[in-house]
């Protein structure tokens, strides 16, 4: 009796394992590519994984650039559910494997010192993609390639100042607390708005980059302020789209009663801008695979590069501009 029971247990475990493998295979993608070919440069990409349309475009662009044809073997390791620990594990295994270069998009800014020092000891150059680290110790990595969050959010603030010369009450929908992007986007905004006394900060709350949470947060914020908010600075498109729905549900008109500005410039946001529901979208350009490729080649040839390479971004301030950009939007 116990033998059959044992057998069914083993069978169940095997089935579970097979299912897990199947799923891992589906979501893993390019990570399975093995070594072997000595001429290829192996690049370990510690990535964020599914997070939103922006990240999707960015990571797909990197993957499409570092191809076998271009002479690279890219190992793509997305984080499990945006968990930093899974990223550190992936990073460590890339160091142990001895890849030629590591690209890192950190889900969280702090806590990378030990891992980066290990890479340094192994003489593996690390290039930060998009997300920075905290504290920002430039000795620990070669360079950071990213659109400048500070500059982009200053652009949003400049628009707000222009659109409301007499000032306004504003609310900030932030990403998760502690992420470098959030801090930088706050700094850029505050640098401009801080010197405008007519702008009153009603509050700031995290909505974790999520549409659903942003809607729930903003409906309450509107009530706690008797709908007296004119500007919303949503730090990503998804949250801005959530804010639109909260505004509509409160019986107000987005774009008229409450103007919402977002950062990222995904297709969904531009569509909303074209419909006059968003009022301003600042692009945070995700397509910098080519720049990354150049930098990797330079670093491997021993050339020196700047510690921060800024990727240029656009802004869209009218429905017409959005409508014009929509047809060839890639993300």
């Amino acid at each position: 009796m116990s033998a059959t029971r044992r057998f069914t247990q083993v069978l169940g475990l095997a089935a579970a394992g097979a299912l897990a493998f199947g799923l891992a295979g589906c979501s893993g993608g390019a990570s399975a590519a093995g070594g072997g070919d000595d001429e290829l440069t192996t690049v370990g990409f510690v990535a964020v994984g599914p997070e939103g349309a922006w990240r999707e475009a960015n990571e797909a662009n990197i993957q499409d650039t570092f191809t076998k044809e271009a002479g690279f073997d890219l190992k793509y390791a997305p984080a499990t559910n945006l968990d930093q620990k899974s990223q550190i594990d992936a990073f460590t295994s890339f160091v142990d494997e001895g890849v030629d270069v590591i690209l890192l998009s950190a889900t969280e800014g702090s806590g990378w010192e030990d891992s980066l020092e290990r890479a340094q000891e192994a003489e593996i150059p690390v290039i930060l993609i998009d997300r920075g680290i905290e504290p920002d110790d430039t000795d620990l990595y070669v360079t950071r390639i990213a659109p400048d969050n500070n500059e982009v959010s200053q652009g949003v603030a400049d628009w707000a100042v222009g659109a409301f010369p007499d000032g306004a009450n504003y609310f900030v929908l932030e990403g998760p607390a502690g992420v470098s992007v959030v801090n930088e986007r706050n700094e850029g905004w505050d640098e401009v708005i801080g010197s405008e006394p007519s702008f009153v900060k009603v509050g700031a709350q995290t909505a974790n980059w999520s549409t659903e949470e942003a809607k729930s947060v903003f409906e309450t914020v509107l009530k706690s302020n008797n709908n007296d908010i004119q500007v919303v600075f949503a730090q990503n498109d998804e949250m801005g789209l959530g804010a639109i729905q909260a505004v509509e549900e409160a019986g107000l008109v987005p774009g008229v009663d409450v103007k919402i500005a977002t950062i990222d410039g995904t297709k969904a946001a531009l569509e909303a801008l074209a419909d006059n529901k968003l009022s301003f979208v600042a692009e945070y350009n995700p397509l910098f695979g080519e720049t990354a490729l150049d930098v990797v080649n330079k670093v491997l040839d021993g050339e020196s590069v700047d510690s921060y390479i800024i990727v240029p971004s656009e802004t869209f301030d009218s429905p017409e501009a959005a409508a014009e950009a929509l047809p060839d939007r890639k993300f």
Partner: protein, 356 residues
């Protein structure tokens, strides 16, 4: 008349105060009072002039509580069998992903909304069945089996949507989460109906007793002729289906499924709601009303944090403190300590008098 009702109200209140979830109700009242202190009109509910629906913070709380109520009630039954269902958050995202992906390619008709809802519930039931097989047939620990679905589920949602956050438009589907009937949010009415149906089903039949029996002592239950396997299947499928409906509510509210965020860590909210409601994680008993109170408390807490404008970085700590205090108040041992202290108080002042 007065003299007739007062004692019965008093008795009713004394009865209520003995319930475990009494402190949950107290916590909700305290949180609401704090909000009222910040804004005296917090509790007011008005009728929107444009739509004719009820508008107010309390209405928002009810709407936010609806999905948590569903998963908490499912969790409640699973916990009663001595198990735990960690997969509810992931089942939510799978159900959301399936419905959004379906609606994305379908037309905006009412029929499609029903189909999407049906599909979501169906796939949730399948996931619940997998849980049931792992727990009841294979005999794995519920913690491990549902942990497996928790991880695999989110992966599955990513596969379904191709890793993208998928949005769709369908007015009837959207109505589920944002619509009103007689001025009250549809989600809350639906959640309440489902919860009442489950409550009546398990408490008016022997089902609840049998579920508790296998949680208390599986062997004794088997000797008494309780079909353990069948019941485990039932509760895990129940829990998953309720989570699936919660997932539909969550995604329908914004008509977008966010593969990394929808339902994320909501299993913890569900467990918390169940515990606040006085259901022991050791199994063997359950309290559905308590789970509903717990869910309402969590929604109130979430909304309070935003209403008070607690800063993002302090939010988790604020929530944790409220919940720890609540659990301490509920704990029999802590209450005992307080009682002893109160009893011994008369002696202390005497001691202080002597040196003076």
């Amino acid at each position: 008349m007065m003299s007739d009702t007062t004692p019965s109200i008093g008795r009713w209140f004394a009865e209520l105060a003995r319930r475990q979830y009494f402190w949950g109700i107290v916590a909700i009242v305290v949180l609401l009072l704090i909000n009222v202190l910040k804004d005296p009109t917090y509790l007011s509910i008005s009728v929107s002039p444009t739509t004719g629906n009820l508008v107010g913070n309390l209405i928002d709380i009810l709407r936010a509580a609806a999905p948590i109520m569903l998963i908490a009630v499912g969790m409640c039954l699973v916990v009663a069998t001595g198990g735990i269902d960690l997969s509810v958050g992931s089942v939510m995202v799978v159900s959301g992903a399936v419905s959004m992906e379906f609606l994305h390619s379908a037309s905006g008709s009412v029929g499609d909304a029903f189909l999407a809802f049906g599909l979501a519930v169906l796939i949730s039931a399948v996931l619940g069945t997998v849980n049931g097989v792992l727990v009841a047939v294979v005999g794995l620990q519920p913690f491990i089996s549902t942990l497996f679905i928790m991880l695999a589920g989110r992966g599955l949602a990513k596969v379904i949507t191709g890793g993208q956050n998928t949005a769709a438009t369908n007015d009837s589907f959207r109505w589920l989460a944002n619509g009103y009937v007689f001025g009250i949010p549809v989600v809350f009415i639906l959640a309440l109906l489902v919860v009442i149906a489950v409550g009546v089903l398990v408490r008016r039949s022997a089902l609840g007793l049998m579920i508790e029996a296998i949680g208390m002592d599986p062997k004794a239950a088997r000797l008494a002729g309780v079909n353990r396997r069948g019941l485990l299947f039932t509760v895990y499928i129940f829990s998953a289906v309720l989570a699936g409906i919660a997932g539909v509510f969550g995604t329908a509210s914004v008509m977008t499924v966010d593969v990394s965020r929808t339902g994320y860590q909501l299993e913890l909210d569900a467990i918390l709601a169940v515990v606040i409601g006085g259901t022991s994680l050791a199994g063997g008993k359950f309290n559905i009303t308590g789970a509903v109170v717990g869910a309402l408390l969590i929604a109130t807490l979430d909304k309070t944090v935003v209403f008070l404008g607690v800063s993002s970085s302090a939010t988790p700590a604020f929530k944790a403190i409220v919940i720890v205090v609540l659990c301490l108040l509920q704990s029999e041992r802590v209450r005992q300590v307080f009682r002893q202290r109160r009893a011994s108080r008369p002696h202390t002042p005497q001691k202080e008098v002597i040196p003076a």
